[in-house]
Every structure is written in structure tokens, then in C-alpha cells.
């Protein structure tokens, strides 16, 4: 019988005599390899599992179980103030199709996600290129640009509310410059959504800067020099050398920004409460919370949350795949 040598990493000894290539023998050999490999892996997994266990349990308890419960509730009419809870099948999802408020929230969410993704990416890249110098001043500036990322969204919202209200800093400045009727950044229904998108963009800018800076610092100097010697100008060097090398950074930033945009809630809750007016700045996440805790319709809001989960996951996976393909081809 062919003997499989047990190396420390479980490889088959190349010096061992080969068995005839019959199907039965091959199957037996495969099974034996799997059995022995598995016998060696479990003790190691046990050790790693010990470290992973708290995180795993927390993940199951705080993420997977709530997702499962949300999925279950979405098929019920659960209302804690109007028991009993009954199974309603797909009715909540059917109602969502005709829900004007949810549609408006979906549109608002997409607008925020697109604005945040585009402007934070572009702004982050420009700032990263400006800060890509080794002096102490630029190192300090990097820290300053990153500060909003580590602040809570509520703190950011309170700060920007003070800036953007009609009596706020920005309009006081504009009035000082002679603008008699400065815009109602938060009180004008046509502007409020864009103000919210701007605030989220501003907060995420630092994140993009750091990721792009890391990418820029990974671009080999020799490639830039070679391109220069070949006569490439600054723009051509960026287009043909730097930009392709930043593909992984673009992937990370785009996916993170899309997810952040789709999840927008805190800023709306603090700054506009979904207004001014009905649905002007309401997002999907905001609509979920309002429906659940103001209207008490937990079942219906769970259906909204399920749709949101599927939408965010689908868009993220598609964008991730597309951008990763770009990384490979480049």
C-alpha cells in the first residue's frame, strides 16, 4: 500500500512511490489525506478558536441573530403595542412597493450615497496628493484631516448644525459679505439633502485621504522616473503610472463610502429629523427607525431593513467585483 509521508506541513512526500492511477485508489488516497489533514488541523483550530470565540459569539449574538430576527419579523405584523403578532407572508414587502415615503427615502439614500462616493473620492485623492510630502507640516496636516473620521457622527452633526442653520456661522459670514438673503441650507427643502450629503462627505474625506496616501506611498519611485525619462508629463505620469497603482485604494474607498452613504442616519436624526417637510431628507435607515419606534410597526420596518440589507449588500458586492477586476487587469 502506498504510504503517505507525514511532513510537518502535511505535504505528500515527492519521493514516495506513486500508486497506479486507478479511480478507487485515488479516492482512497484522497480520503486518507483529508482524514489525516483534518486530524492535524483540529488541535490548531482549537487554539485559534479559543481566541476567536469571544468575537464569534459577539458576532452571532449582535449581528447574525438580529439579522435572522429581522428577517422573521419582516413576515409578521409585529407591533409591540398591538399584540398578538401574526404571520402575514409577503404582505409587508408588497406594501413597500406602493409606499411613497419609502420610495422617497430610497431615492434620497441613493443621492446621498452617490454624492458621498464621488466627492469624498475626488476630494480625498486631491488632498492626498497635496499631502504626499515627507515634511513634519504635512504629517501634522494629515492628522488634522483625519480628525473628523474619529469623531462621532453626532458630534459632527451638532458642529455642522451650528454652521448651517439660518442664524449660523456660514450665513452670518455671508450676511457680513453683503448677501441679504443667504440660502436656507437646512430649512430649504431643495437644499437640505445636499447639505446632509456634504456633511457626510466632509466627515469621510479624511478616511479617503489616508487610504490614498498609503496608496501613493506604495507607488515605486523608479516607475515615475522611468516615465519621466520616457517624456511623460505630470498628467501623463498620473494617468499611466499613479492612477493604475491606486486601484486597490479606490476599491476600498468606494466600497466604504457607498456603505456609509447607504447607512446615513445619525446626521439626519440630529440635524433635520427627516425634514424640512415630509421625506425631504429621510433615508432608508431613518425611515426604518421612525417606522419601528414612532409608528410601532416593527414587522413593516423589518421588511424595510431587509430590503436595505439586500440592496446595500448587492451594490457593494457588484462594485467590489467591478473594481477588483480593474485592479487585476491593471
Amino acid at each position: 500500500m502506498t504510504e503517505i509521508q507525514h511532513g510537518t506541513r502535511g505535504e505528500v512526500d515527492p519521493a514516495a512511490p506513486r500508486q497506479s492511477p486507478s479511480h478507487g485508489g485515488s479516492r482512497q488516497r484522497g480520503a486518507a489525506i483529508r482524514r489525516r489533514a483534518s486530524a492535524r488541523i483540529w488541535p490548531k483550530l482549537g487554539r485559534f478558536g479559543l481566541f476567536a470565540l469571544p468575537g464569534l459569539v459577539a458576532y452571532v449574538v449582535f449581528v447574525l441573530i438580529p439579522i435572522g430576527m429581522t428577517g422573521y419579523y419582516s413576515f409578521t405584523n409585529r407591533n409591540p403595542f398591538n399584540p398578538p403578532t401574526k404571520w402575514v407572508g409577503l404582505r409587508n414587502y408588497g406594501d413597500l412597493l406602493g409606499d411613497q415615503e419609502f420610495r422617497q427615502a430610497l431615492v434620497n439614500t441613493v443621492i446621498i450615497a452617490v454624492i458621498v462616493t464621488v466627492f469624498a473620492n475626488v476630494g480625498g485623492l486631491l488632498i492626498a496628493m497635496l499631502l504626499d510630502r515627507p515634511t513634519k507640516l504635512y504629517v501634522a496636516l494629515r492628522g488634522i484631516f483625519f480628525t473628523p473620521v474619529v469623531l462621532s457622527a453626532v458630534v459632527i452633526s451638532v458642529i455642522w448644525q451650528a454652521v448651517l442653520t439660518d442664524d449660523g456661522l456660514l450665513n452670518s459670514l455671508l450676511r457680513g459679505l453683503g448677501v441679504d438673503h443667504p440660502p436656507g441650507w437646512l430649512s430649504d427643502p431643495d437644499l437640505a439633502l445636499y447639505s446632509i450629503a456634504w456633511i457626510i462627505t466632509w466627515q469621510m474625506l479624511g478616511f479617503c485621504v489616508v487610504v490614498y496616501l498609503a496608496g501613493l506611498q506604495g507607488v515605486p519611485r523608479e516607475l515615475q522616473e522611468a516615465a519621466s525619462i520616457d517624456g511623460a508629463g505630470r498628467l501623463a505620469r498620473f494617468r499611466n503610472v499613479t492612477w493604475p497603482m491606486l486601484a486597490p485604494a479606490l476599491t476600498i474607498n468606494t466600497v466604504m463610502l457607498l456603505i456609509t452613504g447607504f447607512k446615513a442616519y445619525d446626521q439626519i436624526q440630529v440635524i433635520t429629523n427627516g425634514g424640512p417637510g415630509t421625506g425631504t431628507t429621510s433615508t432608508m435607515a431613518f425611515q426604518v427607525v421612525q417606522t419601528a419606534f414612532n409608528g410601532n410597526h416593527i414587522g413593516y420596518s423589518s421588511a424595510m431593513a431587509a430590503v436595505m440589507l439586500v440592496l446595500v449588500a448587492t451594490v457593494s458586492v457588484i462594485v467590489l467585483r467591478l473594481l477588483q477586476r480593474r485592479e487585476v487587469t491593471q
Binding site: 459569539v57 436656507g184 437646512l186 430649504d188 440630529v270 427627516g274 425634514g275 415630509t278 416593527i298
Partner: protein
Amino acid sequence: MRRSIVFCLVTTLAVAGCGVGEKPAATPASGGKVELSFLVFETPNLNAAFWDAAIARASAKVPGVTIKKLVTPNVDRTGYAKQLDASGHLPDILQSVNPAGFAEAGKLAAFTDDELTNFIAPKAGAVDGKIYQLPYNTQVIPVVYYNKDAFAKAGITETPKTYKDLLDVSAKLKAKNITPFVVGGGGADTWADMYPLTGTVATDVYAKTPDFLTQRKDGKVKFADADFTKAAQKVADLAKQGYIDPAGLSRSYADTEQAFRDGKGAMYPMGSWFATSADNNKPGFEIGAFPWPSDDGTPVTPTFTGGGTSVSASAPNVDLAKKWALAFDEDKENNDAFVKLDGSIPAIKGYTPPTDMGPVYQATVAIYQQGMKDNSIVNAFSQETGDGSLPPGLADKSALGVQDLITGKKSAGDFASYLDDQWAKATQ
């Protein structure tokens, strides 16, 4: 090795299990006392020091109780109470939380008639005849507070008696480049925009149909009916004429109050709780007060009576919690503090407010007393609790709809239809 894995598993599961869903059992505090959680909210008037002192006074009267104070993240205490309830952590005692929904679901303990003997309106806010929130105070909503200097500057010598007078006064103010009304409602304080509508609904709807919301519940009337639409149209017209500045929609409640103090408008329709704030923190001008006028000048006084404490039916010791809640709401010093800081008009038998109250509070109480004398008291729209109140969530939707009225995004008819749609959704 195996023992450590088992230890880790048990510890992790124990830690993860804590705080998930189940409310902890009654916590005996030190000395055999029962610990009860008490949900309060902070405002510019009712700050942390006020609540701490009031809690200490009630606790001194009820031995065996230790109070754990919980503070809502904003003034929407009902919304926060619902979130706590959803996670199985409804506080044992709740301050000024709308009992609608909680009461019907059996989550609150009803007060008995014997427990309510000291209250002037013991049946205010009843749900199926039972009281789940102590009716400890009355508020007039709205009172129109006005800047006497601005009125004088515009040559206005008398406060408006009819709605036409109000429009005339507004026109004169505007002609002098003074914004007639300060109306807020920014940030999480959307509710602060409701008061002009609460006024017009009182004069145009509730004066004729005092049980309008009960009839709406029974399907006998609709918001889209002529009276309610007219009330909404009045608010839309005030904004259209430039008498309400839409800029206020970005101001929080505190900023709105400050805007009035800063002279950014001449009239401030607000709940009577503003009175003592005006007295305690006087702006650089005199403040007067008048009731929201009706078309023909017939007095109509929208009020809300209730707003006290409620007790969770699952409190570790319901009787003790009710005893503490009653002590909290009936305590003379607590009521004095509510009067002095929040312009409260206590609805406790035999209670007399402190004699050193300021002129704005006195003017506010005079409006209420005149309303009692005229028999012109009606409900304050969107503030109601109990059977004749809006379904859960609809007060917030109304406040957002009022923003649409003010910005012109919705006509009065659209707004009324929107409320009918939202009512149908909320009661599905």
C-alpha cells in the same frame, strides 16, 4: 487545554447573554431598598439639577426606594421609552411619556380612583376610563407671547382680539421690517413648529367639534373636511404672506426661543412653559401674552392636562413605584419648582403657586383662568393623550407636514389628505 476552552465558552456566553432582551429582576439596593429606574428629560428649563433635587424630595417621602435616573437623549421621551421597551428595558417610572400604546398593551399600571383624589381633573387623558399618567399639571398651548417694544415700534396699541386683528397686526409689523412670527422646528425638535396649527385647530375645529379626534377614530369626520382644512389654510397663508419666516425651520427649540429673545420676530406662539423662562431670563424688552384669537373673537383656550409620571406594570414593586410617583407629582416643593422653571400650572387640589411669580407667568395663568371662567377650554391638537388622541407616530408626522405647509410644498388640502393617509397607515 480543554478546561480552558470550556471556561472561555461559559464566560463568553455569560457575558454575551447579559443585557440581551430580558429586564433584570428587581435590584435590591443597599439597605434592602428597591431600586427603581426613572426616565426624565432635560430641557433649557428643566435641567439636571432640577431633576436631582425633585427626585431627592420624593425619595425622602417614600422610604425603601432608591431611584436610578435615566435621561432621554433629546426631549422625545416617548420615542426613547419605546426604544427601551423594544429591548425589554422599559423604565419603572416615566416622566411625561405619552401613555398611548403602552397603556393598551398592558405595559403601564393604572392608578386607582383613591390614588387620584388630590388631582383636579382625575380623568384627564383616560384610556378606556383608566388613568396611566398622573394629570398633575395644565398647560395652555399655544399662548402668543409678544415683544411689546416691537408692537410699539409698529404703532400697535392693542393685542389682537380676532383673527383679522392678528393679520392686521402682522401686516403692520411686516411693514416695519419686523418678522411677525418666530416659529421653529429644526433638528430633532420638529414638534416646535406645531403651535400656530394648534391655535387654528382650536379656534376653527375644536371650538365646534371638541371631540374631533374621537370622531376621526370612529370615521365620522376627516382631516380633509372643511374646518380642519381651513385651519391648515390659515397657517399656509401666514407663511405665504411672509408672516412666518421659513428660516426658523432650521432652528432647534432652544434656538427658536433664543431667536425670539434676540428680537428676530415679534410674536412667539408657544406652550405656557415659556412663561417662566421669559421671567427668569428676561430679554431686553417687555414680553406680553394673549390667547390665539378666533375669527369672531369668541374666546377659545386650548389646554393640555396631564404630563405627569407613569409606572411600568413590570416594575419590581408596582405599589411602591406608584407611591413614589404620587409623592413626586404631589410634592409642594416639586410643583413650586415646576412652576418656577417650566411655567407649569399645577392641577393639584389646594395648590397655590408661589406669590413671587413674574409678570409673564401671571399673564399666562390669567389666560387660563379666563378660559375656565368663559368655559372655553378645548384640547390642544397633537398634545392630547388617552382615548381622544392621535395614533402613535402621527404627532411627529403632523409636525413634518406643518413644515411643508410653511415652505409651500403642500397646500392645506394636501396636508389634510396627508394626515388622513397617515392616520390610515398608523392604525393599520
